[in-house]
């Protein structure tokens, strides 16, 4: 059996975390979702992940740009300066009328830029984006799970 994907989500709004979970579930993405409630937690986790090779490798970071304590830009910078996660794909999520621009996200090599969904079809789209990103990773031992083989799970 393939190992589930390890996905980090830095998002302070539980309603939005639940939406992402819905999106992953809708696309049958087998994964473990690690939720980080603020920028400080996110930076601390990135540091410990980078130092401790025994911890599971993270496949994707889903990042809300407006986080308490440290914003998304700080986290992107830290991520890109790590030894092991500099190439990890990132999906940036922003609120609808955010001043955070796609250009700015691209500057930090965020792979995808996504406006937080306000309707079901947008939610579905977010799931599709995540699935495609993970498929691109396609690293040894990790395959996109077959249909119905798993659900989006999570732990903190």
């Amino acid at each position: 059996m393939n190992q589930p994907f390890e996905i980090l989500i830095a998002e302070d709004n539980p309603a939005d975390v639940a939406l992402v979970r819905e999106a992953l579930k809708a696309h049958n993405i087998d994964c473990v979702l690690h939720v980080l409630r603020d920028g400080e937690q996110a930076l601390a986790l990135l540091d410990s992940l980078d130092k401790d090779p025994k911890l599971p490798r993270v496949d994707l970071l889903i990042l809300d740009m407006h986080l308490p304590k440290h914003d998304g830009e700080d986290i992107l910078k830290r991520l890109r300066s790590t030894e092991h996660y500099a190439q990890t794909p990132v999906v940036v999520m922003t609120s609808q009328s955010s001043s955070w621009s796609e250009a700015k996200a691209t500057k930090h090599a965020a792979m995808f830029y996504f406006q937080k969904p306000s309707a079901m079809d947008e939610l579905t789209e977010l799931g599709a984006v995540v699935r495609n990103v993970l498929a691109l990773q396609n690293r040894g031992g990790r395959q996109t799970p077959s249909l119905g083989s798993g659900t989006a799970g999570g732990k903190h």
């Binding site: 709004n13 309603a15 609120s95 609808q96 009328s97 306000s118 309707a119 079901m120």
Partner: protein, 501 residues
């Protein structure tokens, strides 16, 4: 008739030592003749009228008048009057001003022109005097002097600096408030160029002002900065009027400078307060979007996932929840648009209204075709405004025209523009339901709606946005309407140079 002329006529009669009395009788000027002793031998009717008495020939001496005073008010004895002095062989005084009193107590000013007649040996044989009434002139002078004193008192006590200058820009007068305001005394600055008061970066204002004055124009409430003696700057409002001489020629300017430092400070405070409020409204409407998004998507999720398990009433409630969220979303986004109007500063942008209208109509093609509306337009001008602003104006006005169409007619909307002074007036005319006269003003208020949302959807922000945009360009928006027949919304966009005042 001058004294010189009179003397000539006297000389004409010299041979017979007689004067043509008939001629003198007809003169409108008081004339009398004396013998060498000063006794009156003749006076004309004008002399009776002027002096207010009929002298007695051979008795009255030196003058026809009752009492004479000098200009300083001291009584002048008759034997010291200019005629008496001349007859006694003294200096012939001409052109002095005297005051005389009539027996009835009334007074008059006159100038005597005495002359003496001499025989072949040079002896004085007679005297003739002509009294010119100068009362009217003296009165006019006195009134003018009083007015001048009054004016100078007003100028001196004015809180505003009042300064005059000639057309070379040289200061010619300087009141007390000018001393207080600018720090220069009148002695220091009169005769100096007015440019002394103008900050270096505004020196070009003076030639412009002079050019306008030369053209006979007034400069009204021109707000600018001027420099005090100590170098500090002062916010002032200038009103400058050309000064003309008696012939109407412009010879200079009078300038009233009002200190508007306090006013400017108050304006700044109001502006900052407004900006703060605007920022607040912006942040509030911006931040409201996020929780709203959750409400919207979760009610959708709930309907999709659990719709089948809910009973009719629960579904109805859920419908209200979704309708409320949708409506709030519209309100919030309109409010956001409203607060963002002033974020686009009116600058050097220009918009081709034809292009803007085409863009707007393309964007509205769905609602236009759904309503079957026919939208027509005249050739439109290019105007000095931000394209987005003109777009919002057309969008809201045409959108309203479609929304409030009459169920009895195919909606017909026409967009036109015509020259208004140096700017333009746009008109959006429809054949819709119209607006009752009592609502013509209120429709432009924020959140003002004339219908329930069941009848016509909307947030009541659209026209408020329009008004805010137009006012940003110092324009005006209003509606003309015949209820049941249609409405015409008009807005003006002045020339950009008008905006600065």
């Amino acid at each position: 008739m001058t004294a010189q002329g009179l003397r000539a006529s006297v000389h004409v009669g010299h041979g017979s030592n007689r004067v043509d009395h008939e001629l003198l009788d007809a003169l409108p000027v008081a004339v009398y003749i004396t013998d060498s002793e000063g006794c009156l031998t003749y006076f004309n009717p004008a002399a009776i009228k002027l002096s207010g008495r009929t002298p007695q020939l051979g008795v009255d001496q030196w003058c026809v008048t009752w009492k004479i005073f000098l200009a300083d008010g001291t009584l002048l004895p008759h034997d010291q009057c200019p005629m008496a002095i001349a007859l006694k062989g003294g200096e012939v005084l001409e052109g002095i001003e005297c005051l005389a009193e009539r027996p009835d107590g009334s007074r008059f000013w006159f100038t005597p022109y005495p002359a003496v007649l001499r025989d072949e040996d040079g002896r004085i044989t007679a005297g003739i005097n002509l009294l010119v009434d100068i009362t009217d002139r003296k009165l006019a002078q006195r009134i003018a002097a009083r007015e001048a004193r009054l004016l100078s008192a007003i100028v001196d006590s004015s809180d505003d600096a009042i300064v005059s200058k000639d057309l070379n820009g040289t200061i010619t007068s300087w009141n007390k408030s000018a001393e207080r305001l600018f720090g220069y005394t009148a002695e220091e600055i009169v005769g100096k160029p007015v440019t002394l008061l103008i900050p270096l970066d505004r020196q070009d204002e003076e030639p412009q002002i002079i050019a306008r004055l030369r053209a006979g124009e007034r400069v009204d409430h021109f707000e600018t900065l001027r420099r005090r003696k100590d170098g500090t700057l002062l916010d002032i409002s200038l009103t400058i009027s050309p000064v003309r001489d008696e012939t109407g020629q412009i010879v200079g300017a009078s300038k009233i400078a009002r200190d508007i430092t306090d006013q400017k400070r108050a304006e700044g405070e109001i502006r900052r307060a407004n900006q703060g409020l605007e920022q607040f409204a912006f942040s509030a409407s911006h931040d409201l979007q996020e929780p709203l998004r959750s409400v919207k998507i979760y009610s959708e999720l709930l309907t999709r996932r659990y719709g089948g398990k809910l009973d009719g009433e629960a579904l109805e409630f859920l419908g209200y929840l979704q309708a409320g969220a949708t409506r709030m979303e519209l309100l919030v986004s309109d409010l956001l648009a409203y607060t963002q109007v002033s974020k686009r500063v009116a600058g050097s942008e220009i918009a081709d209204a034809n292009v803007t209208l085409t863009t707007v109509l393309e964007g509205m093609s769905n609602s236009i075709s759904e309503s079957g509306a026919r939208v027509t337009s005249d050739p439109l001008p290019t105007v000095p405004m931000h394209g987005t602003h003109l777009q919002q104006l057309f969008q809201n006005l045409i959108g309203n025209a479609i929304k409030y169409h009459s169920p009895e007619r195919t909606p017909a909307i026409h967009v036109s523009a015509h020259r208004q002074g140096r700017g333009w007036t746009f008109a959006v005319t429809d054949n819709g339901i119209g607006i009752a006269p009592e609502y013509k003003e209120t429709v432009f208020g924020l959140f003002k709606r004339l219908h329930t949302s069941d009848e016509y959807s909307g947030t009541g922000i659209g026209l408020a946005i329009c008004q805010r945009i137009v006012e940003q360009y110092n324009g005006r928006i209003w509606v003309e309407s015949e209820p049941g027949r249609g409405s015409t919304f008009r807005f003006t966009i002045p020339q950009s140079s008008d905006a600065g005042g």
